[in-house]
């Protein structure tokens, strides 16, 4: 299977900063989808982790 899709997708992305050119710039970190996930988070049972018990694996 020729899995080169990440590279193809990479070509479409905004150019990533050159590691030798790391001067200051304003980070763009707006994430509108995060508001939607808040609704899903509120539905999580607050006690879920306390009830979660597993046996030791490797």
């Amino acid at each position: 299977m020729a899995m080169n899709d990440p590279l193809r997708r990479e070509e479409k992305k905004d150019p990533t900063p050159n590691k030798k050119d790391t001067g200051p710039s304003s980070p763009s970190v707006e994430r509108p989808g995060r508001d939607d996930i808040l609704k899903r988070m509120k539905r999580v049972d607050p006690k879920q982790s306390e009830n979660y018990k597993q046996r030791t694996g490797q």
């Binding site: 006690k47 694996g57 490797q58």
Partner: protein, 495 residues
């Protein structure tokens, strides 16, 4: 493709519960989940006789592998079950060349052997989808509650289960050479490979609260050990290459986390492969030596900035970020321009370290712990709770739920603001088809076409009911594969 490190694989043990039911049996649940798989597969014929898990890289054998007292007690009860240990295992080999079975109490998916990092990440995702499909089928059965599956490594009260990354390396170099050059890299790769964990599971230190980088770091107790269930090491010394013994070793790393983010998996495996390539080609001088790497791995996990000072054996100190930059510089100098995949890994490695240093909030589209930090912080501000509230730990667990209707990572995927690696079609392809350029192709085709003719099957070979045997232990490169297929095509027309 790296000729120096020709094969890669990931084994993932999943957490499993039956929600809304008290006193369910986790062994039964794990066993029944694997047995519910409807994919074309060879069932119950894994060749355990070909396993050699007691040989140590340091040149000795151990009589048995250890587990803690609690697990000893569980095993006493397990022996009273009305089925054998082997029936409990419920081994499957799938038509994509993967192994899927019940590893004691956890459904485990071991990818087929892959030759490239992107191929491996696609197969890791394929495993996640296969395991979820089994859970979906189990939830159609007329039983109370609901099976939920978690791709994580802890239950937050001290029980850990593993995600192991594997690399075929040369036996030419002494094992010590690999160890001394790898350890500083491995203890610091959690800066981007850590899946994030709320709270601490250190036995003697309950002072930490909040988010740490990695799930597994609290459980690392020594530098080298053959053990996997207790005394877990930075480098596992099990000497079981699943290939020609005199030519190869399999580096079996058990310190890593299960990443929900395929980008993080790619960076974890990709950077590790680059470092192994440098070592295998004698291009990596002895790096910094840490005074106490076992303590360091925990301290690094508790520092989200990568700036904690780590003691070196020469009396100086160095930060985890500086160690990663040291390795990156050598990889960039020696391996850039060799192939597109390596270039992607080097470029993304550099970008990630740079953003961790200057704009860590930017990592929240692709690095698991940073995504958690972003969404949990938003939740804490929205709900007025603290990091110590049990609700946050429950959110941490739900991040790893692989159900697209419930899991937090799976939910974020649907919003489109995470770094995307593969299309649905590409993952679907990995569910059905083995890699075309590794020995997994022969295994997958044998499963697809050899129904009722396979006596037993393993990473290293396939024995048929007529006594014939296909030896895969020497099929390492694509040229080896081509040679094997040409030599066996007449006998096995499905090849």
């Amino acid at each position: 493709m790296s000729a120096t490190i020709p094969l890669l694989g990931i084994e993932t043990e999943y957490g499993i519960i039956r929600d809304e039911v008290d006193n369910y049996d986790v062994v039964e649940e794990s066993m029944r989940l694997v047995r519910r798989c409807e994919m074309k597969s060879e069932f119950g014929n894994w060749a355990y006789s070909r396993e050699r898990s007691h040989q140590d890289m340091r040149g000795f054998n151990v009589r048995s592998l250890a587990q803690d007292e609690e697990e000893d007690a569980f095993c006493v009860e397990d022996r009273k079950r009305p089925y054998s240990y082997w029936e409990m295992k419920s081994d499957r080999v799938l038509e994509n060349g993967a192994r899927f079975y019940n590893d004691h109490t956890h459904p485990e998916y071991s990818t087929p052997e892959c030759s490239s990092v992107f191929q491996l990440v696609a197969h890791d995702l394929a495993g996640e989808r296969i395991v979820f499909e089994c859970a979906r089928l189990r939830n159609q059965d007329d039983e109370p509650g609901r099976v939920c599956i978690f791709k994580n490594n802890t239950d937050y009260i001290g029980h850990s289960y593993g995600t192991h990354d594997n690399y075929l390396i040369s036996r030419r170099l002494p094992f010590e050479n690999w160890v001394e050059r790898l350890v500083p890299f491995l203890v610091t790769r959690q800066l981007y490979a850590g899946a994030g964990k709320v709270g601490s599971e250190l036995r003697n230190d309950h002072s930490f609260s909040g988010l740490q980088l990695a799930q597994r770091s609290d459980f690392i107790e020594t530098v080298l050990s053959i053990e996997t269930m207790t005394q877990r090491p930075i480098i596992n010394t099990r000497d079981e290459p699943h290939a020609t013994q005199d030519k190869y070793r399999r580096l079996h790393l058990i310190l890593g986390d299960a990443n929900m983010s395929p980008y993080a998996t790619a960076l974890k495996v990709g950077t590790t492969r680059l470092i192994l390539t440098l070592i295998g080609e004698d291009k990596l001088k002895l790096p910094v030596t840490l005074e106490n790497p076992v303590e360091d791995i925990k301290a690094i996990s508790h520092d989200l900035t990568g700036t904690i000072a780590l003691k070196r054996t020469n009396g100086k100190t160095i930060t985890s970020l500086e160690i990663q930059e040291f390795y990156l510089e050598i990889a960039d100098k020696n391996l850039s321009g060799q192939c597109k995949e390596s270039d992607w890994i080097i470029r993304e490695w550099a970008r990630t370290l740079d953003e961790l240093k200057h704009y860590p909030e930017k990592l929240a589209d692709r690095i698991d712990w940073a995504i958690k930090k972003d969404i949990f912080t938003r939740f804490i501000e929205s709900e007025g709770v603290s990091w110590d509230d049990p609700w946050i730990k429950s959110l941490d667990l739900e991040y790893h739920n692989i159900d697209p209707e419930r899991g937090l990572y799976r939910g974020l995927e649907q919003t489109g603001d995470l770094y995307s690696m593969f299309s649905k079609d590409e993952v679907q392809q990995a569910i059905k088809q083995p890699p075309e350029d590794t020995r997994a192709l022969v295994r997958g085709l044998a499963v697809k076409h050899g129904t009722n003719k396979i006596k037993n099957i393993h990473w290293t070979g396939i024995e048929f009911t007529d006594g014939a045997f296909i030896d895969l232990s020497q099929t390492i490169t694509s040229a080896d594969l081509e040679h094997l297929i040409n030599s066996k095509k007449e006998q096995y027309p499905w090849l």
